[in-house]
Structures are given as structure tokens and as C-alpha cells.
């Protein structure tokens, strides 16, 4: 196996992939878990993967699959608690809230719609490219995008310029 080639490939994409994973997960720890799982997977299959036409799509798909797999695990499911955990005061977290507001809105979306939004509007992939990563049809990407944007619109997220991309 050519480790140098793999290192060069991952090295130039790691930062972008981590940020993409973060937008999907909403949590840097979970994002790093998904990315490390995906990187390990790509490394183990590098001999085959490196011959693919679109290695980037494979890496993104691996990250999404790692994240979706992790969400399905029982211990990751939401649990009810008797008392809510304490939260910091509103003033202390206001700047962070501003920056992370979009994450809160993204969190309303089902996982695959959230992934579609991130791929299309953060990674700037076309409908066809997103369909390739998500392993679905372009029509599904369009419908998922439209529904996701409807949900975000209701949350007062500015999506006015994105109608043409639906």
C-alpha cells in the first residue's frame, strides 16, 4: 500500500471533511469520531478506492455512513431525564448562540436532509454530485433539498437566494 499517496490525499482534505462532518453532527467530538472512522475505512480500502474516478465522493460518503451508523447505535439515542441539566446564562453564550444558530436549525432536519443541505450549500456540490455521494437519484436530492429548505425557511433562515438551486 502506498501510505505516502494516502497521506497526501487525506492531508489536503482533512480540514474540509472535518468541517463538513461537524455541520452534519453538530458536535466536534462526534465529527472527529465519524471522520476517523471514515479515514480508517478509506485507508483499509485505499488500493481499490484510489483507482476510483471520484475519490472525494467516496470519502464524503464514508463520513456520512459513519455518522449515520453512529446515530443508529442504541446508546446514542436520546434519553429522557427527570431534571434538565443546568445551562449557562444567556449573556455568556450569546455570541456562541449567534454563530451556532444555523446548527440549531439544521438539527431540526432529518439526518439525510441535513446531509443534503450540507453537501449542496457548504460543499457546493451539484445535484448530481450530491446524489452520487448520497447514493440516491438526483430527483431524491431535489425533493430532499426542497423540503429541507422549507423547514429552514419556517425557522427564519435566509434561504431566499437558494430557490434556483432546489
Amino acid at each position: 500500500m502506498d501510505d505516502a499517496e494516502f497521506r497526501e490525499f487525506i492531508g489536503t482534505r482533512l480540514d474540509q471533511v472535518r468541517r463538513t462532518a461537524y455541520l452534519m453532527c453538530g458536535d466536534w467530538h462526534a465529527a472527529d469520531d465519524a471522520v476517523s472512522t471514515a479515514v480508517l475505512h478509506v485507508y483499509q480500502n485505499w488500493r481499490r478506492v484510489s483507482r476510483m474516478q471520484n475519490v472525494d465522493a467516496y470519502l464524503r460518503r464514508s463520513v456520512i455512513n459513519a455518522w449515520l451508523d453512529e446515530r443508529r447505535r442504541p446508546w446514542r439515542r436520546e434519553r429522557s431525564v427527570a431534571e434538565l441539566p443546568p445551562r449557562a446564562g444567556a449573556d455568556a453564550v450569546a455570541p456562541v448562540d449567534d454563530r451556532l444558530a444555523v446548527l440549531k436549525h439544521l438539527d431540526q432536519l432529518p439526518a439525510r436532509r441535513r446531509a443534503v443541505i450540507v453537501l449542496r450549500f457548504y460543499c457546493d456540490l451539484s445535484v448530481d454530485e450530491t446524489a452520487q455521494v448520497m447514493e440516491c437519484t438526483p430527483g431524491t436530492v431535489k425533493s430532499q433539498t426542497a423540503r429541507a429548505l422549507d423547514t429552514l425557511r419556517e425557522s427564519m433562515v435566509d434561504v431566499t437566494d437558494l430557490a434556483s438551486k432546489e
Binding site: 500500500m1 472535518r18 472527529d32 476517523s36 450549500f121 431566499t160
Partner: protein, 256 residues
Amino acid sequence: MGLPNDLRAAVEHAPPPEFDLDQLIRQGRARKVRSSVFATVGAFAVVGLVLAAGYATAAGFRSAGPGPVVPQQPGAPAPAPASASEMAPPAFPLPSASDGPQWIDRTRTIVGTPAEQANAARLTAALAQLPAELAVPTDGSVRFTVRHQPPIGTMYNAFWSAEGMQFSINIWTEEPGADDDCSPGEDPNGCAGDRDANGIVYVTGAEEYFGALYVRDDGTFVDFLVQVEPGTERVPSDVRSSVRDAARSPGLTLFP
């Protein structure tokens, strides 16, 4: 701002990653090696089952006498008279102690450098310390040989046959710290590992075979396999536990 800008702003201040790429690559390499080892064990188990089934069929054929008479074709030579001692042997080679386990590709055995020969001699001496249940012959007939095993590189192998079983030990080295920390149930090839003071031992097996792979913290990989020979039904439990213990034997390391 718009959604794309909101998304970019949300990831503007990325913290440093919590994982180390070098460590991930070491884990990936270790998993690949382990996968290939366990795949070899599985393949060998299948071969063993086929051999055992064939042996049983042949034995049944001998006891039942010759099969139905096949009409002779005109011009063909007359068949030789059949007797129990003249029955044709099975069409497959039955393993014997001198053949060695089927998973060993003998063509890869090499002479080795003086250092490798010294390693092989030291490992051979360590065989004397293995549990008695493993029935290592004490007549000097069992020794470690140096083999070239792509992509691992140099590998040391010893094998013997005793009490209806074949034993084989493969020892090689990988980068230290190549063990992984995958969660139970994630990886069918080895997440059931148990850590001790010097490494992690992974086991696999069925009734007819048992394997223990010990990944030492010093970078030594010890792969100890036992497989029943035809006529033996299963690997006894005391042999299994001895194989597991023997893989962790202090003498079986490339970094004494």
C-alpha cells in the same frame, strides 16, 4: 447572510482534530494484517473440514467394500481385481506430520540473515517453555524457520503435529502500538481482544480449529493456530487455553 454563509461561519473556528492520522494508519495496518490472518484461519478450517469429510467418506468406502459395478466399455482394459489393500487412496492428499499444516506456503521459506537465524534459534529454544498440553516434540525436530511473507516481510514459523492436531506458530513484527481500540461488536475480525500487561490477545475458533493472535506492545505479532487432523473431532478446551497462554509466552517475542 444566507444559508451558505451561515454554514461557513459555523465552522470558521475549527478546533484541532482529536485523532492522530499516524495512529489511524497504524490501526488500519493492524486490522488488515489481522483480517488476513483470520481469513487464513477460516480458509484453513474449510480445507480441514473438506479433508475430514473426504477421509470419512474414504474410510466408509473401504469398510463397505467396492461400489457398484460399472459396465466396461468395449476395448477398455480389464479392471484389476479389487481387495481391501488395493483400494485406491483418496483423490486428495491427506496431511501428515511431515507435510506441515496446509496454510504454510513452503516456497517462501528462506535461509535468512545471521540475525534472523539467531532470532529463529532463540524462538526455537522458547518452545521448550510452552505448556505440556501442546505436546511440542522434544527431539529437536521442531524449530522455527525464517520465511518471507509479503507484505509483512520476515516471518518466523514453527509447526508440528501431535495427538491428532496440527499446531503452527507465526511470528512477525509490526510498528509498536498497532493495536486498536474498536468497540465490541464492530469488527468481526478481532474486537474481542483482551488486554494484559504486555499486549492484546485476540482469539477465534470453532470446534475444529482455534487461533490466538497476540499483539504485543513491543510490536511482535504472535499468531498461534491449532487445527484437528482427520479422525479428531475437536480441539480440546485445555489445548485452546494452552494455545491462548502460549501465544503470550514471554519467550515468543522479537524484542527480548
